[in-house]
Symmetry: C2
Subunit: 99 residues, 2 copies
């Protein structure tokens, strides 16, 4: 897994990187927008990818978009990315789309 997706950043640092409050960061998890991992003892760990997502969320929220819609958009984006890869043929081995 790349550095971008490895979950190693604790919530205080995410707060500094994004400007979002701890409350907000945890709440967006509760609403299913992000999925940090937990250490054995329960502390949350985020990836750079999560940080990027949170920055997008912050933008959307400023526009007044609700978490429910943001979640939908994020899922669409993910699907979009998967589709791109499929079209590029990188998932052929799994899904046997060609031939």
């Amino acid at each position: 897994m790349s550095y971008k997706h490895k979950k190693v950043i604790s919530i205080g640092t995410v707060n500094e990187l994004t400007g979002l409050s701890l409350r907000q960061i945890r709440y967006y998890e509760e609403r299913g927008l992000i999925y940090p991992e937990r250490t054995k003892r329960g502390t949350r760990k985020y990836s750079f990818s999560d940080v990027e997502t949170l920055l997008q969320i912050a933008d959307k929220r400023e526009e007044g978009v609700q978490t429910y819609e943001i979640r939908r958009d994020l899922q669409d984006t993910k699907k979009g990315k998967v589709m791109e890869r499929m079209l590029r043929g990188q998932l052929n081995a799994h899904f046997k789309l060609n031939k």
Copy 2:
């Protein structure tokens, strides 16, 4: 700056990633092998690049190499990398090596 060099990882996570004890991680800093940043309140933050360096250090230590030699090697490596880039021409604008 890239994700690889951004200092966002706390020492406990570095311990998990490298298998080195907290004591060792701090000691290698004391010996000038790595340079974590500090938050306002004093907690150390490491980059993925630091983690890579620490893995190299761990290897060298197992071979019995002492920290002062490792430091020298690491510095050489850095110089080596800079030279590579210079030869690739990426620093021309700065050093005007060609023409």
